[in-house]
């Protein structure tokens, strides 16, 4: 069960907490084994991600995972190779999504529908962000984190039972389908707060399953 600090661990890891919150969290970590374990897992994923090449995932291993995770450029991956993703952030991303036009949402779905993952040109860093870019930006971070977890999983995949791999792939497909359906509904009704939150929830769930699978693979290797 999550406690109030679970979603703050990535901020802690990135040094983004204030002194008081940091001290409070460190006090909590001394007594909460679950948060300690989650933090250790995050550190492992960050360390792994930092040591990896910027190659796309091997196409034949996780096609189901690669589906619909969006388009991420190499510079964006390098710049964003850290674990920062919380439900509130997703919700914020979803609200931002709601502010852009249906056309943007349509583009998002089209971009997400491309599989396998491809590199796409991104605006120069100095270019002013358009509303569409701003709306897409959190999704890129999400995609980068999914890709990082896939790689961690990829490294440990050989340690997992084939049945377990099949089950994980099957459940990722189920979540991906839910994400696609939510995105599709959102395209028709971009201001719908339920759909935004529902999409955020399914995206969070996908990340959690990938984390769980990566941890399993890591534990067995």
């Amino acid at each position: 069960m999550k406690d109030q600090w679970t979603d703050r661990l990535s901020e802690y890891l990135d040094g983004e907490l204030g002194a008081a919150e940091r001290a409070a969290l460190e006090g909590h970590l001394a007594t909460c084994g679950e948060c300690g374990a989650t933090l250790a897992e995050l550190r492992r994923v960050v360390a792994r991600a930092g040591a990896l090449d910027d190659r796309p995932p091997t196409a034949d291993l996780w096609p189901a995972i690669a589906e619909h995770i969006g388009v991420v450029s190499l510079p964006a991956r390098r710049a964003r190779r850290r674990i920062v993703f919380t439900v509130p952030q997703l919700a914020a991303a979803s609200v931002a999504l709601a502010l852009v036009s249906s056309a943007t949402a349509w583009l998002l779905i089209r971009a997400g529908a491309r599989a396998p993952v491809a590199e796409a040109p991104t605006p120069a860093p100095s270019a002013p962000a358009t509303p569409a870019t701003a709306a897409m930006y959190p999704d890129k971070r999400y995609a980068a984190q999914v890709a990082d977890l896939e790689r961690a999983l990829e490294r440990g995949r050989g340690q997992l039972d084939t049945t377990t791999v099949r089950v994980i792939e099957k459940n990722l497909r189920i979540i991906n389908r839910a994400i696609r359906e939510a995105q599709s509904a959102l395209a028709a009704d971009p201001a719908n707060s339920y759909l935004n939150l529902h999409l955020a929830q399914e995206m969070r769930r996908k990340l959690e399953l990938l984390r769980q699978a990566a941890a399993l693979a890591g534990a067995r290797s």
Binding site: M1, V167, I175, Y194, L209, L216
Partner: protein, 290 residues
């Protein structure tokens, strides 16, 4: 020929039966790669470990004031399949884990943590933090109280006669929560139905969400609750009259009594039904019979 095979089988199988005394407050930790962990309780301050295993496996029982740790060594052949029957004091906290392992607990009266990858988790009892997880197996809990965390990926979750804060989550399976006494319950799945039959306490928080499945939730007659209903492709109905407010295309709300509790029910592609306690369980039974 049959005699020879029987003799070989007898040689290959080995039984371990060891009892160690434990001090009050000690925790049991068991890690079993494959097989079963079955834990039951007794009134003695001792832990009895019975194990059926290959003669290649060696059972290690390490006891200290703080814990009794049970694990095995499989030598160069790696870990084997071991069936544990462990008897512990009722007060003992349990930390059980495995990979290809079924986990069963009966009669625990303290914290229970159970995690497996391919196997079912079935627990009767538990108090304080009760955390049960399986990737590929179902998770079942009965007669527990405290902070309950139930998690599966590819199977269903069932909890009955539970008191306390509940979090239940799976991806591909239903969630059934019956005879629940809770002020804080959250259940969500992607592909499955959710049934909740329990209390709605003043100032409580309840959230039930599925993507592709139906929701059947009980609301007691005298509840004070603000209800928020969201469904994209489903219908809503209630066994009692409600006056809708704040109605939008896919979302609406209504208040019963003072509205101090908050109930959120969401299904993207399924129906939502609110009924009185008992009616929800009856519907569940009817459905199983069908």
């Amino acid at each position: 020929m049959l005699t020879t095979l029987t003799t070989l089988a007898a040689l290959a199988l080995q039984q371990t039966d060891t009892t160690v005394p434990v001090r009050s407050g000690a925790r049991l930790e068991v890690n079993n790669f494959g097989g079963e962990i079955a834990v039951k309780t007794w009134s003695r301050s001792a832990v009895r470990v019975e194990a059926n295993h290959s003669s290649r496996d060696r059972i290690q029982i390490v006891a200290s004031d703080q814990s009794v740790h049970v694990k095995s060594e499989g030598g160069r052949h790696g870990p084997g399949t071991i069936d544990y029957n462990i008897t512990v004091p009722t007060w003992m906290a349990l930390n059980l884990s495995g990979v290809y392992t079924d986990i069963k607990v009966a009669g625990a009266q303290n914290e229970v943590t159970a995690e497996t990858v391919q196997g079912e988790v079935t627990v009767l009892g538990g108090s304080g933090t009760v955390s049960l997880k399986s990737v590929q197996g179902s998770v079942t809990l009965e007669k527990a109280k405290g902070r309950i965390d139930l998690n599966s990926v590819n199977e269903e979750i069932k909890a009955t006669e539970i008191s306390g804060d509940i979090s239940a989550e799976t991806v591909n399976g239903g969630i059934t929560l019956l005879q629940i006494e809770s002020a804080n319950t959250e259940a969500n799945t992607v592909n499955g139905d959710i049934t909740y039959d329990g209390t709605i306490k003043d100032a409580g928080r309840y959230r039930f969400s599925t993507h592709d499945g139906d929701l059947r939730i009980s609301v007691p007659e005298k509840a004070n609750v603000s209800v928020s209903v969201s469904t994209f492709n489903g219908d809503f109905n209630a066994c009692f009259p409600v006056k809708l407010t704040g109605k939008t295309k896919h979302r609406f709300s209504f208040t019963i009594g003072s509205g101090s509790a908050r109930l959120e029910v969401e299904s993207f592609d399924g129906d939502i039904k609110l009924c009185r306690p008992g009616q929800v369980s009856k519907n569940e039974s009817d459905k199983e019979e069908e």
